[in-house]
Amino acid sequence: MPAADSARTAVRADRFPRWVYRHGTEPDARFSLANERTILAWVRTSLGLIAGGTALETLDLPMEPHLRLASAVLLLLAGAAVPVLAALEWARTERAMRESRPLPGALTGLLLVCTVTTVGVLLLLALLLR
């Protein structure tokens, strides 16, 4: 086995998370960096959800208060959940690339679509029922 292949297949006990890095071989660094940029984009999305949820309550907008609070809570819940899911997806994607498997699907996108749609409906109702 060539030295480079040997280095690629060596177990990387010092890398976190181990359940990702102890499998497979090193992928092209460009793909790993693209995977990293994707999770950073998810983190920024989550920060937007948190800022939106907080601003809804802080700005005291003229809306039906219970629906406004429900919207803020939903946004903040999604803001807290999205980074966790995105981190799991980053790890699953990294492992799939290391094992040359197809990339896993994105569940975080589904959560985001459901949250934003529900919040949109709630805010519309909150404006109509004020």
């Binding site: 660094a29 460009r30 959940a81």
Partner: protein, 119 residues
Amino acid sequence: MTEPSAASRAPATPPEVPGLAAERTALAWRRTLLSFTAACLVAGQTLPGADGFRTLALAAAVALVLTPPGWWFARSHARHTERHLRTPVPRLRHGRRIAIICGATSALGVGGLTLVLVP
């Protein structure tokens, strides 16, 4: 003499030249850390007693506290990436950094939720 086809000209395996990928990733980290600071500023407005001058003082304090470590973090991450990309087999070790930013963002969301629900 005929021109070789595109398929025959293409290398069998693409060269692993990262190009600007590292720089794009470093910029993505900086954008994310700036967004984190901005989200902390917004979330700080829900703190009890944040009103008028106190709001401005709180925002300035948050920005001053978070900006230097964020800048240092982004710079050290970029240097780490550049150093590893110069090796024959790059071994990027970004898992802990990703876990930290995800954990901090999730904690910010939980904190905001608590502040909104508990008057």
